[in-house]
């Protein structure tokens, strides 16, 4: 049981936003849809929620065929990047909306709303209007509103995208803990790789309307399917036809190791504990190496020095496929 998306295709005019996407998102987990802007993440999320319709393909939610079900019958909670609050309703009213639609008894609604406001730490703001809340508070209210109807799936489209870095990080940690308590199957969209790696159980990398890779954060980091995934998950550099991470390159002052790439140090930049060394290899390419200050000092790396580069043992490397 899970959310199964199969053969999903969506075009806007000539533009293909989703191209035959098939992916299965496990129940009870926190899954991140990660990818660059315009990759089709929101489109996929909206189709799962029934807010958009696909041109082809099917959506199954917990075993229930949902492809032709309207949004209101899918029992899916949706949280929008820009909150989408009901401006004319108080915080409590906003949260109660879904329950009132379902015609639950008043007492039950009040109880549930109180619980949810407690959960998102907005109890003292229950009678405020949304315009009197900060962005982070508004988004927590939106989350409570979505959770109120006990959705089968919770979908969040860049929920913290409009918030400043600090609040965003706090809310991201909080979302993780919330998920550990509530266990609702949750999918959230982000284009921030750090957010995905830190919070998600499972990451789906989407680019150009296609799924590039699905896997746990560790799998993606250690065994990226291609250089796109690798590049997207953090800083990379090219060395001898391979994409590697700059901290996974060994620098040697002598041509000791077979297959090492000779080059000259052209630039050294110290950023805090880290030293960023730019090496122009003998064939004219540039490679970036990062190391700790201590290591740089003990190796004797300096501008103009002749060095030999090798990928460290066990380093993650994939062949360079596309132009950067």
């Amino acid at each position: 049981m899970s959310i199964d998306v199969s053969g999903l295709t969506k075009t806007f005019g000539d533009f293909v936003a989703l191209d035959d996407v098939t992916v299965s998102l496990p129940t009870g987990q926190l899954t991140a849809l990660l990818g660059p802007s315009g990759g089709g993440k929101s489109t996929l999320l909206r189709i799962i929620a029934g807010l958009d319709t696909a041109d082809a393909g099917t959506v199954t939610i917990e075993g229930r065929e949902a492809t032709n079900l309207p949004a209101r019958k899918r029992n899916v909670g949706f949280v929008f990047q820009h909150y989408a609050v009901f401006k004319h309703m108080s915080v409590a009213k906003n949260v109660a909306f879904g329950l009132e639609i379902r015609k639950r008894p008043r007492a039950e609604i009040d109880k549930r709303v109180a619980e949810l406001l407690e959960l998102v730490h907005l109890s003292q703001f229950r009678d405020r209007m949304p315009s009197q809340l900060s962005g982070g508070q508004r988004q927590r209210m939106a989350l409570a509103r979505a959770l109120a109807v006990e959705p089968t799936v919770l979908l969040l489209d860049e929920p913290f995208g409009a918030l400043d870095a600090k609040v965003r990080k706090e809310l991201r940690d909080w979302l993780r803990r919330l998920h550990d308590e509530v266990h609702t199957t949750t999918i959230f969209v982000t284009h921030d790789q750090e957010e995905a790696l830190e919070v998600a159980d499972e990451i789906v990398v989407i680019n150009d309307g296609r799924v590039e890779q699905v896997g746990s954060p560790d799998t993606l980091y250690d065994k990226p399917a291609n250089d796109f995934v690798m590049r997207f998950l953090g800083e990379t550099t090219d060395l001898a036809g391979q994409t590697v991470r700059p901290h996974d390159i060994d620098v040697s002052m002598s041509p000791g190791v077979a297959g090492s790439t000779p080059g000259t140090v052209t630039r050294i930049l110290r950023v805090g504990f880290e030293v960023r060394v730019t090496v122009t290899t003998d064939d004219g390419a540039e490679a970036l190496v990062t190391m700790t200050r201590t290591l740089a000092r003990s190796t004797g790396v300096e501008e103009g020095a002749k060095v030999w580069l090798t990928a460290a043992k066990g380093a993650t490397a994939v062949p360079v496929m596309r132009a950067v």
Binding site: A84, F86, F97, L119, A142, V149, L178
Partner: protein
């Protein structure tokens, strides 16, 4: 469900707003307020007071005479009821037209958007002529509505079309469709979403348009005199009564009818505002 672990450190206390001091205006806004008040007084308050004054000179009797005059009473009744009916139609049709203009795509949309203002922009007597040639004797449409009450409704509807459309349109354009999507994902049908989410947002604009439309309708003259025929007790409206009272040299009676119209307008503004507030708060 334990909530102890889920804590947000970022729950910043809401900023305490500096209480807006009521008595100190900045120089700029004091000047603005002063100029505004003088302008408003010269244009509106003083002439209005003069009318009410003229009407009041004859004491309450003038009003009583005006209202007990059958012809005047009927004219007022026709004016207010027709204006209410037309405003009701505008509330619905204006909102629908605005919706279509903002949300739908169809050929000729740009043209419709341009044409909407014409009934309002053209000189009213020209509007009257247009209506007369279309709905008058020997109507090309086969609708000979001249000298009937239909003519009054038609003329009022014609000149007040743009009001609600033009007040609602910008609000709809600004409205985020995310909110509707949110309501749908929470289980609301289109009808419920419209009633509980869209309508409260549009209500202030709809009723601003309705107030303008009503005010215009109770004072309309030019566009309906030609078609309605001004038959006493049948198709004669209040503004025509005011005109003929002045023609007949009865300033006081004219001022009395004018003052009654003024009161009706004021009551309408207040009532529309109350309904609007109610709608905007519901949800």
């Amino acid at each position: 469900m334990s909530t102890a672990t889920a804590r947000v450190a970022g729950g910043r206390p809401a900023r305490v707003r500096r209480p807006a001091s009521r008595h100190s205006l900045t120089k700029g806004s004091a000047l603005g307020l002063g100029v505004g008040m003088i302008w408003f007084s010269l244009l509106v308050l003083i002439p209005l007071t003069a009318v009410v004054w003229t009407a009041g000179e004859g004491g309450l009797g003038t009003f009583k005479d005006a209202l007990t005059n059958k012809q005047t009473f009927n004219a007022l009744k026709l004016t207010v009821l027709s204006s209410l009916a037309v405003t009701g139609v505008n509330i619905v049709m204006g909102t629908v037209i605005a919706w279509v203009l903002v949300r739908d795509r169809f050929p000729g949309k740009k043209l419709l958007d341009l044409v909407i203002d014409i009934p309002f922009a053209m000189p009213t007597i020209v509007a009257g002529l247009v209506l007369l040639s279309l709905y008058g004797a020997e109507s090309p449409l086969g609708l000979e509505w001249n000298n009937t009450r239909k003519a009054v409704l038609l003329a009022l509807a014609f000149v007040t079309v743009p009001f609600v459309v033009r007040t609602v349109q910008p609000v709809l354009e600004e409205m985020d469709t995310d909110v509707e999507d949110a309501a749908a994902s929470l289980g609301a049908s289109r009808a419920t979403t419209f009633r509980r989410v869209i309508l409260p947002t549009l209500a202030p604009a709809i009723f601003a348009g309705a107030t303008l439309s009503f005010a215009r309708a109770i004072s309309e003259y030019g566009s309906l005199v030609l078609l309605s025929g001004n038959l006493p007790n049948r198709t004669e409206v209040a503004s025509v009564r005011v005109y003929s009272a002045i023609e007949g040299g009865n300033q006081q009676s004219a001022a009395a009818v004018a003052t009654i119209l003024l009161l009706v307008a004021l009551v309408a503004i207040v009532v529309f505002d109350l309904i609007q507030r109610r709608l905007a708060r519901r949800g």
